[in-house]
Amino acid sequence: MELDFVLIQALSGLASASSLFVIASGLTIVFGVTRIVNFAHGSFYMLGAYAAVTIVPWLLEFDRSPTLFFAGVIASALVVGMLGVVMEVLLLRRIYKVPELFQLLATFGVVLIVQDLVLLAWGPVDIAGPRAPGLRHGVYILDQRFPAYELFLIFVGPAVLALLWLLMHRTRFGVLIRAATQDREMVGALGVNQAMLFTGTLFLGAALAGLGGALQIPRVSANAHMDLSVITEAFVVTVIGGMGSVPGAFLAALLIGLLQAFGVLVFPKITLVLAFLLMAVVLVVKPWGLLGKPDVASGRAVLPEGILDPRPLDRFGKVLAGVAVLALLALPLLDDYSVKVGTEVLIFALAAFSLNFLVGNGGIVSFGHAAYFGLGAYGAGMLVTKAGLSMEPALLAAPIAGGAAAALFGFFVVRLSGIYLAMLTMAFAQIAYAVVFQWVEVTGGDNGIVGVWPSRWAASREVYLYLTAALSIAAILFLTRVIRAPFGATLRAARDSAARADAIGIDVRTHRWLGFILAGAAAGLAGGLYAFSKGSIDPTLLSIPLSVDFLSMILLGGIQSVFGPLAGAAAFHAVKDQLMPLTDHWRLLLGLAIIAMVLAFPRGLAGLRRRAA
């Protein structure tokens, strides 16, 4: 490698590190003070870009000057900061005390809402932004041309770091933020109105995200996918740096920027995998990140109350279950459409049940359960289409694929707890998604693979329904036995107090790992069944939105009940299937529904039944 080439590569690494830091700093500050992992931070980033492609060109009409360009960028950041205030006042304020899982879901609800609102306001077409006046040329560094704007970006990160340092150390607001990051209750007992502090923090955090987005407009067009792609990277940066630590975020952004800039030379396709490897290594060596503190992450419950006592169904429950199964078997008496929905409900019921096996029974909040579902689907689908095998061995391979992925990812996941664990599961899922999405030659990329058909004997919808019913119900019954077995009880004990379980000689980590693998295998089976029911596979089967669908199902059903998630899956999927064709704003509705669910009835459908009883 030539020296000039290395230099250019390093510079572009620094430029992306700088951008990444600006975004991640806001996320980490908001987390430090409010203890909420704000999914909507990516939405603020996207809104910053959209605001900038609207405001900046308008300003440049008056005069194509650098001053007006940057005035527009700052204005965009401030506008987004105000949106952060709106979110704090309308939503966050009501959920500071609820379990972390609900907070994550509620902020994800905001992500969904913003996605639809952005489409409404700006339409589906990407919007290219203007280049920055005065920074459109290239600079020659050792004979290599390097864009001036990228060079400028390199300085933005350190400048923001310096400004944040001044804010944090030289202003009362900053001192209060640092104090609240450590002990917000004590800050309140000293007379500080936390509501004001939190609102101010959200303004700052959202404005930083908005600034990050607005600064991107000369490089990338504003588009409706910016939110989820950036939030994963920002999560990785904050986790590596230590949640709540601004200098940690800077360090982590530098590491990731450089790693990606040089990693792309070695493994051109899998730079995300490198970031993940770094994260896995850091979390194993320093579970709270490079500069993080354990007390920041621990504290409040991650979960609402989970499964306490998995008693067998009472008589009413048994009747209900029997009626449900009979109704499913009778579906072919209706029409084809009902058979299709019934098949899907069975598949999602298995997926949701396996997720609640982790969440409700094990206290392991997986935010990326779709990864195992999707990998099961791909495992089965590719065996059929690429290797020419038939459905039977492919369906056998599906749980193996899901379980193997869960074994690999779970090995790291079960070392963590709480919010770090949730974020790691999500990061792994995003990596699996990225691999499937980018490895076009093998996976078909965005288009996926078609022609995943069942064997001839199972080709009719009715027979496939019965096949699905047999396999799903068998898997669910098997998992139920595990929940009731000593193994399940051990998982519950570890959920309620890992320290105590450790103390009485239980190998908590291994138990949780095995549980994770089991749940992954069950999700993989569900994914395999889904692939054959659709006849095709594509990357959305591993995506975050599907993971959130699964979480919504178990939440709707009630995570403290063993069988509630099945009802949740049925209700969720039936409603979605009915409503989705009727509306262009499914995400808006779903987002509002998730938020309403978190605010209004956090115990789910099974909770309703218990309340009525």
């Binding site: 009362r172 640092r178 450590q182 002990d183 004590m186 007379g191």
Partner: protein, 237 residues
């Protein structure tokens, strides 16, 4: 009659399913120091947290400065002029001494001289020498001084002071006692929770003894010193 600053009656509170306080009644007059005594686990800290709003009272009333404060958010209670010094100190260890004081700073009510860092350094000379040191690098005694100084920066009318002498060397304990007397001299009412009778006798006019979440004995501190029976029943381990 002396002016009541704080008046608590029928106060019940607890943690989750655990009931800890069962109708605590106590009061504090302007400028007086009262010692809240009792064995480990008697409910002293819980009483203070419930008064301060850190724990929502389940029943009872808490009046402060003529206002019912039961159920208010802690920051509102603090703003009315009630200061709180927690037993585990809860210093902001990432912040310097001066920054810790800054977090506690609030304007003084009209007509009263505000506490400043410099005035506090007169009481706690040790702190003056380390104003820019991170609190994590301070000794336990220094942290105890800082936590009191931080609360005084809010210019409170009354202070709930939870076990200021716990785990400290005798010299430092003496300094704490002086600090409490200095607060009294400034007209601040202090409710100090304490297990050590000598310390209580050095600072307080009156004692209240808690046991199993109720006030069981109340009287002048001198009486308590003289009455061995009471001490044996409620205090000695």
């Amino acid at each position: 009659m002396a002016e009541r600053v704080l008046e608590v009656s029928g106060l019940s509170a607890g943690y989750g399913p655990a009931e800890v306080l069962f109708g605590v009644a106590l009061h504090l007059d302007r400028g007086e120091v009262a010692a809240l005594m009792g064995r480990n686990g008697a409910g002293k800290s819980t009483t203070m947290k419930a008064i301060m709003g850190l724990l929502t009272p389940r029943a009872g009333s808490v009046r402060f400065a003529g206002q019912d404060i039961a159920g208010l958010a802690p920051y509102r209670i603090a703003r009315l002029g009630l200061g709180y010094v927690p037993e585990d100190r809860r210093i902001f260890t990432d912040l310097s001494v001066m920054e810790n004081l800054e977090v506690g700073r609030r304007a003084a009510p009209a007509g009263r001289a505000a506490w400043t860092a410099e005035r506090l350094f007169e009481i706690f000379p040790n702190l003056a020498e380390m104003r820019h040191r991170r609190a994590s690098a301070m000794s336990g005694g220094e942290q105890q001084m800082l936590t009191i100084a931080r609360t005084l920066m809010g210019n409170p009318e009354a202070v709930l002071l939870d076990e200021p002498s716990e785990g400290l060397a005798p010299v430092i304990v003496e300094q704490m006692a002086e600090a409490v007397l200095r607060m009294k001299a400034e007209g601040i009412a202090v409710l100090v929770s304490e297990q050590d009778l000598d310390f209580a006798a050095a600072v307080a006019d009156r004692a209240l003894i808690l046991e199993k979440g109720q006030v069981r004995w109340e009287g002048p501190i001198a009486t308590l010193e003289a009455d061995e029976d009471v001490r044996r029943t409620y205090l000695t381990v």
